[in-house]
Amino acid sequence: MSISPGLLDMAEDFCTHLRRRQVEGSLATAKKTAELMRTLVTTQRHTDAQGLVDDVRAVGTKIQAAKPLEMAVGNMVRRTLHMIREESQQEVEEQQPHKPAVAEQEAAPGLLSKALRAPVLGIRNISLHNLLDQAPLDSAQFMEPPRDARGAAQLTPQQLFQQQHARQPIAQRQQAPEADEVSSINEASEAGGEREGPEGGRRKKGSVWRRRALVIEQLNELIDELDEIENNIAVQAVEHIHANEVILTFGMSNTTLLFLIEAAKKRNFQVIVAEGAPSYGGHQMARALAEAGVTTTAITDSAIFAMMARVNKVLVGAHALLANGGVMAAVGTHLVALAAKKHSVPFVVLVGLHKLSPLFPHDPSVIFNDFKSPADVIDFNVIAETMDPEDEQEAPYVHIPNPAFDYVPPELISLFVTDTGGYVPSYVYRLLADYGSSHSEISSGAAGWC
């Protein structure tokens, strides 16, 4: 089933907004992406998980390509994929007691290649330990769209049939708290399914993958979580900021601002704000802090090193958290981190886990920077006349790069404070596994999942 034109339009609109820089900031982008994914899962009617996975991938690739730098897009798409797969996995598991998957695999006609690729098929619960080796199997299982081959086409109704029979007892057996929910959803879809007839009608449009509702549920949770993510970080503030400390922060970061304001409710401390040229977000930050009643000092970026000797802790926001535990943050952050290292000041990065990306900073297919207009750095008039000399070779030429981001390596970072608690950089890879970015998806190029 192809993606509906309405949805394509929405995706296209979103892409345009990303390209025009009308949607800025990871959180806004993440929210929009999640909403788009929810719309997609709600409106696209697929008979199985695979169709949905294909659509999510297609749309995801498209929007990520619109702004490769905004990794929150990819992160949200990956989460969505992860949810669908988990549900689908659960579904398969529920069938297991009745028919072992291995047997089914071997019995299935035309699936030799799949069999070769899957020497071991463990039916285990997903855990941090087995997630990586299990992933290829997951995708292999999904790579049998019903319409690809005749054999496969026969498989789906067969599976569905088995599933039909298997479902009822499982729903009864379920011990999980959401058991009621699941069964009610199942009943709802069953009602729809029964009208279609038991076998032949299964592949018609009307019959929708049953667990879709669960995915939507999870997406709603994700969106709620995104709304609360900054607050979730902020509530930990009192644990990290102590009385009479001197905190240094850099540029403007919403997360950091909320964090500091939250801490200021209980603690008395000082904040030094570096202005963060050339965007000078620090000015805004200093003003906001002062308005909130925090003792604030604003300094130029060049004074950071000198000031560092008096600082107890550095708190900064970040644009993306990379798989190796490094971060991408506003340009100049690396300098702050080095100064902090030199003075042995803890360097704490506040980052919501929507920014957690499975990409590594050495990935050649991703450009980890955004070069903005030189107008932020220098007046156009100043440079205009040097730009067009007659003799190109002897031309006075001033190159004015204006990168937006810095990469800060993990060894300079003391701690991440995320919405789920504090982590050290070396733990990031485990977080990744928890958030469903399996290895196969990481290693597959720019878009990261295709």
């Binding site: 949607v23 207009s373 067009d388």
Partner: protein, 785 residues
């Protein structure tokens, strides 16, 4: 989507924001390229110019755009369909076609007739590249409109502090006068760069009736973005002779101030905006885009190329502003240097160097080719060993091996340049034949006036419409045979049809006709060429414009005009005096006349007296020689002057001059006395006399030959004393004042020393009741006569 919603919620009573986009610039600067394609579809860094403007409008949440096309309307429509512009949901495009419009003014009148614009709108031409957020300008405009319905237009301008910058975009000089508080535009004056401009800029005194401060700025570049009220369209209809937006409309509205319409200015601080109105700015704006000034309108945001035969663009950014699309193949030994963009499907072979250039999609660049500062469109083939400098190579052209293309050359669509040929600088070659030869680059928008009612055939250039009927169309589209022959030559075959190409122009085996060759020494040619301007001429320009670019003046207007106020006052006084002399007015009448002048110019009595005196003295001499810096004496007063100059070398000559002077003095002494009321005034007169004799200050270069009086300074002092024009004390005060002056300032003091000495002795003698000396002296004087 949410940002749109929130923006809409921010200004709730928002009316639909509309824009008028003129997809035709009604000029000929891009010939011969525009014979075959409309200018707005020319790729600028591999994206049609029109898309920059449309995208900018869309990004600024404009909801409805009226695209006005005239020439090549079908191609523009096709492009809009192809690139999905027409199918946008939140951005409606209406194409308005009129093939016989000759100017922007006619386009506006047509749109007014259609009655589609109901609210404030943005007027823009289809070749503007900008990253300005128009919202602030709109807000300003609306706020002004609420207060004053007559605030009909806001012009967006950008600062360009030095002349090199202006020259860089091939712009003409612009002088505007603005009310510095309200940013109201008072005056808009363009110099087309030809002809000498006067240093003096007269400023109407009435500007100061309503305000204390105005700014005169010559450091602005018009960005050709206008926020207009619907009344603007009506004004175009009312004034059916308005053609050009700036030259006719803006200047027209400003000159008809009594109608109450007001224009305002918005000066950009940080944002980028520029119009591609000639090949010079084509180069400059391309360079700006490559260097990211127009961010986010840079290749690697892939914002603009929506569709078309090649699909979305896939540029990535590399260090030193090198942009490459996916599928570009550059040989290991080839070098791509800074400020370069290369489209997908292009191959660059061994040993080639590309520097500061834009190369389109699917081009082939052979071995050891050097390309510097060139703009190469799609599907161009350049064979081994060629050298291209600052040239424009249009789509489908083929350059055979070992060709040299000089700076400023234009190789139009599908032209083939034969092997080893040398294309001279600033020449343009096209497959179209030029209908009639004419000085190609000299024309300008100025030509409107000549453009008659002639209608232009839709298939030829827009630009054609504007030329006088006698010239016909600029060129016909190449015939099928010509294209066939060119295609055959391209692959080295023998053409079926016999077409005689100009071999001396395109080389053996080439295909194309000379459109125009331009003299590289002609300033007008190099000024608008795609090749960078010559450094020498920039330096010259800078030297010429070293005066401060922004002058804020308070009460003293005259400082602005380079005319010395003293000189003009002097002229006034002397003309009044001469008139009185000529008409033989009674002295009382002369006093009234001069008093009136004194009050009008807010001067002192001494000021009047000084110039009356010097004019009077001048009458003893021949008519002042006319000089460039001086006003010439009107014909009617010439007869009042003496016809010969006395020979100052001889005593007789000196006596002659003194006799004449005495005669005049005797006549006018009462007048002078009436003006020289105080001692200070009399000292002032002495100082003036000094200046007059030294030909300094207001008398420098005046041609009055006051120097002649310098020879008899002592005697003149004596006469002034004798005739009671200047008393003893002022002489004394003057001498004391001068005693401590610099050596060269005391020249006249020394000359007058005999008289001063006499005066002192006379004083003492007077005290001893002896006045004979004076009488004796007087006798001496008369004896000399």
């Amino acid at each position: 989507m949410a940002p749109r919603k929130s923006a809409a919620a921010g200004m709730e009573p928002k009316e639909t924001l509309t824009a008028i986009l003129l997809a035709d610039s009604f000029t000929q600067r891009f010939l011969p390229v525009t014979v075959e394609r409309p200018k707005v579809l020319l790729p600028l860094v591999n994206v049609p110019m029109l898309d920059y403007t449309l995208e900018w409008l869309a990004a600024n949440e404009v909801e409805e755009v009226f695209v006005f096309c005239c020439a090549h309307a079908d191609m523009i429509k096709e492009h809009l369909d192809e690139c999905k512009w027409s199918s946008q949901r939140t951005f409606k495009i209406h194409v308005v076609v009129s093939t016989n419009c000759l100017s922007a003014g006619e386009a506006m009148r047509l749109l007014d007739q259609k009655d589609v614009i109901k609210s404030d709108f943005i007027l823009i031409s289809g070749d503007v590249v900008s990253n300005l957020k128009i919202a602030t300008v709109l807000e300003e405009h609306r706020k002004r409109r609420q207060q004053d319905k007559n605030a009909i237009m806001t012009l967006v301008m950008k600062t360009a502090s030095d002349a090199g910058h202006r020259r860089r975009v091939g712009d003409t000089e612009l002088l505007v006068a603005v009310d510095s508080q309200s940013q109201r535009l008072l005056r808009y004056e363009e110099h087309d760069g030809t002809g000498k401009r006067s240093k003096a800029v007269p400023v109407d005194a009435h500007y100061f009736g309503e305000r204390d401060v105005i700014q005169l700025r010559s450091d602005l570049i018009d960005c050709h973005i206008y926020v207009c009220a619907p009344e603007v369209l009506m004004l175009f209809s009312d004034n059916f002779d308005y053609q050009n937006i700036r030259r006719d409309f803006v200047i027209g509205v400003l000159s008809e101030e009594e109608l109450g319409n007001k224009l305002f200015l918005h000066v950009l601080q940080h944002d980028y905006a520029a119009r591609v109105h000639n090949l010079r700015s084509y180069d400059a704006v391309s360079r700006d885009i490559l260097q990211r000034w127009a961010f986010p309108y840079v290749p690697d945001t892939n914002l603009l190329h929506k569709a078309g035969p090649w699909g979305e663009s896939t540029y990535t950014y590399g260090r030193h502003h090198i942009y490459k699309e996916r599928g570009v193949s550059v040989a290991r030994t080839a070098a791509v240097k800074r400020d370069t963009a290369i489209g997908s499907g292009t191959t660059v072979e061994d040993g080639s160097v590309i520097d500061a250039s834009v190369v389109g999609r699917n081009c082939r660049i052979g071995k050891n080719v050097r390309i510097t500062g060139c703009y190469i469109h799609d599907n161009v083939t350049i064979w081994d060993g060629s050298l291209l400098i600052s040239a424009l190579i249009c789509e489908g052209a083929t350059i055979m091996p070992d060709v040299v293309i000089g700076p400023g050359a234009i190789i139009s669509y599908k032209v083939v340049i034969g092997k080893g040929h040398h294309v001279p600088a600033y020449s343009s070659i096209s497959l179209c034949r030029r209908v009639e030869h004419r000085a190609s680059f000299s024309d300008d928008e100025l030509e409107y006036a000549q453009a008659g009612q002639q209608t232009s055939p839709s298939h030829s250039g827009s630009e054609s419409g504007r030329r006088p009927a006698a010239h016909g169309r600029p060129g016909d589209l190449p015939s099928v045979e010509v294209i066939g022959a060119a295609d055959a030559l391209r692959v080295g075959a023998i053409p079926e049809a016999e077409v005689e190409f100009e071999e001396h122009i395109v080389g053996r085996g080439g295909a194309g006709f000379l459109w125009g060759h331009n003299d590289p020494h002609d300033d007008a040619v190099t000024q608008f060429s795609i090749a960078p301007p010559l450094i020498a001429s920039i330096a010259l320009d800078e030297a010429g414009s070293d005066d401060g670019s922004v002058i804020t003046v308070g009460d003293d207007v005259q400082d602005l005009s380079h005319i010395d106020p003293e000189v003009s006052f002097k002229r006034e006084v002397s003309e009044t005096f001469l008139r009185c002399v000529k008409m033989g007015f009674d002295q009382d009448l002369v006093v009234i006349e001069l008093n009136g002048l004194k009050i009008a110019e807010d001067r002192s009595f001494a000021d009047c007296a000084r110039y009356v005196f010097t004019t009077m003295a001048g009458l003893c001499l021949p008519v002042p020689a006319p000089h460039s810096h001086a006003h010439s004496i009107k014909e009617e007063y010439r007869e009042l002057y003496n016809d010969s100059a006395p020979d100052m070398a001889t005593q007789a000559g000196r006596n002659q001059l003194l006799a004449r002077f005495l005669a005049k003095l005797k006549q006018w002494a009462p007048l002078l006395q009436r003006f020289l009321k105080t001692e200070d005034d009399q000292v002032e007169l002495l100082l003036t006399l000094e200046e007059f004799c030294g030909e300094e200050g207001a008398f420098e270069w005046s041609g009055e030959r006051g120097r002649l009086f310098g020879h008899v300074f002592n005697e003149v002092c004596q006469l002034l004393y004798d005739n009671e024009v200047i008393g003893e004390d002022p002489f004394d005060a003057w001498a004391r004042e001068k005693e401590h002056a610099e050596e060269d300032e005391r020249v006249f003091l020394r000359k007058a020393q005999p008289f001063l000495d006499w005066l002192r002795t006379a004083e003492t003698e007077e005290e001893s009741e002896e006045g004979s000396e004076e009488v004796e002296k007087e006798d001496e004087e008369s004896g000399e006569e």
